[in-house]
Amino acid sequence: MTATGPATAPVTAALALGDDALVLSHRLGEWAGHAPVLEEEVALANIALDLLGQARVLLSLAGDEDELAYLREERSFRNLQLVEQPGGDFAHTIARQLYFSTYQHLLYAELAAGDGPFAPLAAKAVKEVAYHRDHAEQWTLRLGDGTEESHGRMHRACEALWKFTGEMFQPVQGLDIDWTRLDERWRESVEAVLRRATLPVPEGPRTGAWSAGAGRQGLHTEPFGRMLAELQHLHRSHPGATW
């Protein structure tokens, strides 16, 4: 991590939060031109743009935003494995949004209420993320309680991503948060939405056997390397160029 200098506490946290936003923004950007309805082209791009804006502020707290985004290797990224998962169908995207935006909203509300270095960013971002959460909840209801097919797809998506949700509550160095309490509040909220959507709450493990807390320590899933190859290719092809 040459670009970041010594890993002081705020840098570690800035990278964790910044990489989450950067990577999820990229994944949502992949929907452009592929969304199921025109309104969702606008909505998904809007969320992606909010996240990218957050990522740029956070990464800039840790170093140069472009060096950090384009020149780090896979093992230096600190994002959750949840956000790097490939899009899958629209149900997978909505399940990922539900899990992540609920987490991010609760976390940013806490950070905004404190007086730490992330309070100003969190105070602005929490308003954006409240909308992301509402969007995810509304779609979870529609898909869960829509047709038999949508119910089945949403059920499978919620199950498939469940094993990535435990990682969200691994403590991040530099963030003064009661992580156990955050996890409880997350579960209460997500379970209530799933119930309203007539979806069962997944019962499987919330972390993989090998990878608890992995993304935060730089361990990622195979699709992430390919995602980074695409993200970084052009920038790396022209070393030192400005764009």
């Binding site: 950067l22 990229h26 950007g29 992949e30 452009a32 031109g33 592929h34 969304a35 199921p36 309805v37 025109l38 309104e39 969702e40 082209e41 606008v42 909505a43 791009a45 809007n46 969320i47 992606a48 743009l49 990218l52 804006g53 990522a55 740029r56 990464l59 935003e65 472009d66 985004a69 384009y70 169908d89 629209f90 909308y131 509402d134 969007h135 909840e137 509304q138 779609w139 209801l141 529609r142 898909l143 309680d145 829509g146 047709t147 097919e149 949508s150 797809r153 695409e230 993200l231 290719h233 052009l234 920038h235 022209h238 030192g240 160029a241 400005t242 764009w243």
Partner: protein, 349 residues
């Protein structure tokens, strides 16, 4: 008819009864409104052919916005800096928003979005042929902004004064955003032109490939343009294809000089007598071939559009089923959460 000239005309005429030359009072009221440069509104009477022309034109424009997302979205995941990525994402999002305004404008003429999309997917309606060209390098994003959006603005600014109110009003908003898109394209190319030798070459190559197709965006020469004369009479169209093309060339030449890029036309030179730049002959064979379906990306663009639509069918069905269960309405995709996104996006404009 809501407009003053139309009301005056309508009041003095017997409504709907053909006079000796077979023109009804409605027709005369419409003609008077158009002649007085007043807006025709959705609930006003209008000739069937006027309505059909508008639907065709607005639909083609809406389709162009949503198909036009594809060549640029092709670079969202590879944008070379986070700033450029944010700008490009916002631009592609604007295009989806333009699609929404335009499909809504078409709906005021009694044609649903679903019907128009079906016509696009089945090839019965067209989109602008320019989007059948590929974006091969990052510089193409800049060339599209500078040239393609530049040509679009030249075409569209006069549409802000189009005789049909909802279309004219949608165009006011769209033109503001397009003008931002054009500037970002120019600025992107400027950064490349001033950059490394490789970046400059990338910019020049993109301009070389996009220049002629951009000139073709104004449509065939005036003497070969199928719909022009009637559209000008109805004030849907205000300037001829060739006039607009000339205006565009005159704007671009000095801009290319500022960019330190050349335009790929050996015949391009200032004509003192005409007060315009002369330019070389356009290869209309290529234009008609691409229009017919033989462009580099026709198949790819429409296939992706159909696939997105087909793969999204279950989502739209779910939203409709949910809305029917919970609100009694069947169009669940147009309520709550994501509608907020559209409004937010629109407010930024």
């Amino acid at each position: 008819m809501a407009t003053p000239a139309a009301q005056r005309t309508a009041r003095t005429e017997a409504d709907g009864t053909p006079d000796t030359v077979g023109t009804t009072a409605y027709q005369r009221a419409f003609d008077a409104a158009v002649a007085a440069d007043e807006r025709v509104e959705p609930r006003d009477w209008m000739p069937d052919a006027y309505r059909a022309t508008l639907v065709r034109q607005i639909a083609q424009h809406a389709h162009s916005e949503i198909i036009g997302m594809q060549p640029e979205a092709n670079w969202i995941t590879r944008a070379p800096s986070l700033r450029r990525k944010a700008i490009l994402m916002a631009k592609v999002q604007d295009e989806a928003g333009h699609g929404l305004y335009l499909y809504s404008a078409a709906e005021t003429l009694g044609t649903s979005r679903e019907e128009l999309l079906d016509k696009l997917h089945s090839g019965r309606q067209k989109y602008s042929s320019i989007f059948n060209y590929p974006t091969l390098t990052w510089a193409d994003v800049g060339a599209i902004g500078w040239l393609v959006d530049g040509a679009a603005i030249t075409n569209q600014v006069p549409l802000c004064r189009c005789s049909y109110g909802p279309y004219a009003r949608a165009m006011v908003r769209i033109c503001k955003e397009e003008s931002f898109h054009q500037r970002q394209g120019y600025e992107l190319l400027l950064a490349l032109s001033k950059g490394t030798t490789e970046q400059h070459a990338m910019a020049q190559d993109a301009v070389n490939r996009w220049w002629w197709p951009s000139l073709m965006m104004f449509g065939p020469p005036d003497d070969a343009s199928q719909h022009s004369a009637q559209s000008m009479e109805w004030k849907i169209k205000r300037h001829s294809n060739d006039e607009l093309r000339q205006r565009f060339v005159d704007i671009c030449v000095p801009q290319a000089e500022s960019l330190d890029l050349t335009l790929p036309d050996p015949d391009l030179r200032w004509n003192e007598e005409r007060g315009h730049y002369d330019f070389g002959p356009i290869d209309w064979t290529e234009f008609w071939e691409v229009l017919k379906g033989n462009g580099p990306c026709n198949e790819q663009r429409i296939t992706q559009r159909r696939r997105a639509h087909d793969e999204g069918a279950w989502v739209r069905e779910a939203a409709a089923a949910y809305a029917a269960k919970h609100t009694g309405h069947t169009d669940g995709t147009r309520t709550t959460g994501h509608q907020t996104a559209h409004e937010t996006e629109a407010e930024r404009a």
